[in-house]
């Protein structure tokens, strides 16, 4: 039996890590509702497990998604995860082949080079030595990038990297020290016993020239083991807990564990899966455009983990979904944010008994303009013009004022009160027996689709217009105007509606391509989901978004949300119009009317 006292820190650390991780995972599983626990049990013994394994390899080891977003950062994460994993895997194969037994204690493979004093006699011995050195180089190269990222984050193309607290630094340093110590220990062993590969052997020979390798290498093995032990013990309490947790998260996703609006176990697993890679920080416009740099998802998630959420931080977010779109772990940061708001704000105060309960007229198609659209009458007028001239029968649900859809309450965390509003609207929609609900406001659209369970066709007006064009109910004449399109967050990232607005717009004019669009599109800043320093942040953001949208000198900016329109128009020097307005003006049957509208718009204000 091979043994040395220095293996103790490593072995103890590993043992503790094992216990703590098992404890944590079993906590998550035990807290799941019964239905989800059954799903989990069934999932493990089904073909789904292969999908889980595949994704774990692709994401947890190879970090495919980070690669896609930021190749240098992807390489850094991959080199650590995949490199280290391969060192463990190949090291174990090597040591087991050598010892000819399966029953080695874990430390044997790790400190193999300490115990083996002659060149290997196993098959492909040189290959093993080469591979081990190769992956060590890989890990060390990642370490070099990590080091330079900390010194100067732009090395990896990040304007900002995460800010660290002392414990984070401690855990990070313990990780960083592992590999240089391993390199030194193995090189010195190679220097003494000629067991090294292309990296460790020359280095060992070099050290042998002027250093007392015997005692020094022993010290290095101790250092290596301590670094490992310290890292293992700090892992469950540091961000490195994301390593085991991400596997659980991937399994939860594939096994169909349910998500709720509340802060549930799924979200808790997401919180522990965050590696604080910091990709969210540069994607956040509050950071890049309004210099608010304490609220980004990486910090917010950490505050949940540390159970010291600040309401001002929880509330200070546009919920625009940009960070979520780029999160390599796929954490639903928006849902997480809203679930935390529920903790602070989910009081049941509202009383909506004053709302009308009248039975509506039956109709096929309901048009719901939404509260905000009443403040942008040109959108409303255009939609009514389109609906009227297409000859379909519809009813204008909120002609005399809207009953709020409930999403604004939900965005603030008042889900309980929101449900009361939703029930009222749902009753009206249901009793109208409509098969299609058209709305002009993407905020309403989202809640109608995701939370109302209406079982009817719920569409945004851009989708509705596109289908009417396809059906030949309306036809458009292209004005040739150069149009820059702004994707509203709730419509684009929120509901994935990117193509319909573009298809319609390209029939009314010439659609320009902006550098940030679709899932990368910017938030206009006017999101009602953020109520902290509302005006200050909104204005800073809107101004820069208008500049971005105007960069290619379009004739006009088009959007598909009344709120976006309002935010953009404040700073735009050119026309800002909703797609519905442009369609209304360019409808062939309506050309006469449209030219009048256009004339009125262009009227030079008579000077006073």
């Amino acid at each position: 039996m091979n043994f040395a006292w220095f293996v103790l820190p490593f072995s103890l650390g590993l043992f503790l890590l094992f216990i703590l991780v098992i404890f944590k995972i079993s906590f998550w599983v035990r807290q799941l509702p019964l239905r989800d626990r059954l799903l989990l049990n069934r999932g493990i013994f089904s073909f789904k497990i292969f999908k889980v394994i595949k994704e774990v390899i692709m994401e947890s080891l190879l970090h495919r998604r980070i690669f896609k977003i930021n190749p240098v950062l992807g390489f850094m994460h991959m080199s650590f995860a995949f490199g280290w994993f391969m060192l463990i895997l190949v090291g174990n194969m090597e040591s087991r082949l050598y010892a000819g037994t399966e029953l080695n204690l874990p430390y044997y493979a790790i400190f193999f080079k300490y115990f083996v004093h002659q060149p290997l006699t196993i098959p492909f011995a040189e290959g093993f030595t080469f591979i081990m050195d190769f992956f060590l180089v890989l890990v060390l190269s990642g370490l070099l990038i990590a080091l330079s990222k900390r010194i100067y984050s732009r090395v990896v193309g990040m304007k900002r990297t995460t800010k660290l607290k002392p414990f984070d630094v401690f855990a990070m340093l313990s990780l960083w020290f592992i590999f240089p110590f391993r390199l030194l220990a193995e090189s010195m062993a190679a220097g003494m016993y000629h067991t090294g590969g292309f990296l460790t052997q020359p280095l060992g020979n070099f050290f042998a020239g002027f250093l007392p390798l015997g005692p020094l290498s022993y010290a290095m093995w101790w250092a290596y083991s301590i670094a490992l032990g310290v890292f293992f013990v700090s892992l469950p309490y540091s961000r490195y807990m994301h390593i085991p947790t991400e596997i659980v998260l991937i399994a939860f996703r594939h096994f169909g564990i349910r998500r709720t609006k509340e802060y549930d176990m799924f979200k808790d697993v997401e919180v522990f899966s965050c590696s604080r890679c910091g990709i969210c920080i540069d994607k956040c416009q509050l950071n890049t455009m309004a210099q608010v740099n304490t609220i980004q998802s990486a910090y917010f998630i950490k505050s949940i983990r540390k159970k010291n959420q600040q309401e001002a931080v929880v509330q200070n977010c546009l919920v625009c979904g940009r960070c979520q779109e780029f999160c390599p772990v796929g954490i639903k940061t928006d849902d997480l944010r809203l679930s935390q708001r529920m903790i602070f704000e989910n009081r049941e105060i509202a009383d909506f008994h004053y709302l009308p309960q009248d039975v509506p007229v039956k109709t096929d198609i309901l048009y719901f303009a939404g509260c905000m659209t009443h403040l942008t009458p040109s959108i409303k007028k255009a939609m009514l013009n389109i609906l009227n001239s297409s000859g379909i029968s519809y009813r204008f649900m909120d002609e005399d004022g809207s009953i709020c859809c409930g999403r604004p309450l939900m965005l603030s965390g008042n889900n309980k009160d929101a449900l009361k509003l939703m029930q009222t609207n749902k009753d009206i929609i249901r009793s109208s027996e409509a098969h299609t609900l058209v709305t002009s406001c993407p905020i309403c659209l989202r809640v109608f689709r995701e939370d109302y369970n209406l079982n009817i066709n719920v569409v945004h007006h851009t989708q509705f217009i596109e289908s009417m064009i396809a059906e030949g109910k309306i036809s458009l004449e292209n004005s040739g105007a150069k149009i820059s399109y702004h994707d509203p967050c709730e419509l684009g990232r929120g509901l994935g509606i990117y193509d319909e607005p573009r298809n319609v717009l390209s029939q009314t004019g010439v659609l320009l391509k902006n550098s940030l669009e679709r899932k990368s599109s910017l938030c206009c800043g006017g999101s009602i989901a953020n109520n902290q320093n509302y005006n200050l942040n909104k204005d800073k953001i809107s101004q820069q978004v208008v500049a971005h949208l105007s960069a290619k000198e379009p004739d006009m900016i088009a959007t598909a949300c009344p709120l976006c329109k309002k935010s953009l128009v404040k700073y735009a020097d050119i026309r800002v119009a909703d797609i519905a307005e442009l369609v209304s003006e360019q409808m062939v049957s309506n050309k006469a009317d449209a030219s009048r509208a256009e004339k009125k718009f262009n009227v030079e204000s008579v000077e006073a």
Partner: protein
């Protein structure tokens, strides 16, 4: 009750010397724009809730500032938080947060 032939009437004036400004101070502390209202009434004119009931956000805010908070809880319960008022306010009062802070302030028994 014994009828003494007269009764004590509640003071019908706002008495700023003794009025309870705790709620107003709480809201102001958490939402700086609370005090910038000039009472133009745009919020109330545009209010989705005011379309259906006699909710008046301008007056509610003003009453809170004057310490007249007896009806605040029943009144604020009517708000749908739709944010239309926020989009209309010429002074940039962050009305949604004001409303949330009023609710919170009521809960904190200030």
């Amino acid at each position: 009750m014994v009828d003494f032939g007269y009764k004590i009437q509640a003071d019908r004036q706002i008495n700023l010397d003794i009025t309870n400004k705790a709620l107003a101070n709480f809201v102001k502390k958490h939402e700086n724009s609370f005090n910038t209202c000039i009472g133009c009434g745009t919020c109330t004119a545009t209010c989705s809730t005011a379309k259906f009931t006699d909710f008046n956000f301008r007056r509610l805010q003003l009453f809170i500032r004057r310490g007249e908070t007896a009806n605040v809880k029943a009144e604020i319960a009517k708000c749908m938080l739709c944010g239309k008022c926020q989009l209309a306010c010429p002074r940039g009062v962050n009305t949604r947060n004001v409303i949330m802070m009023i609710k919170k302030g009521l809960e904190a028994h200030v």
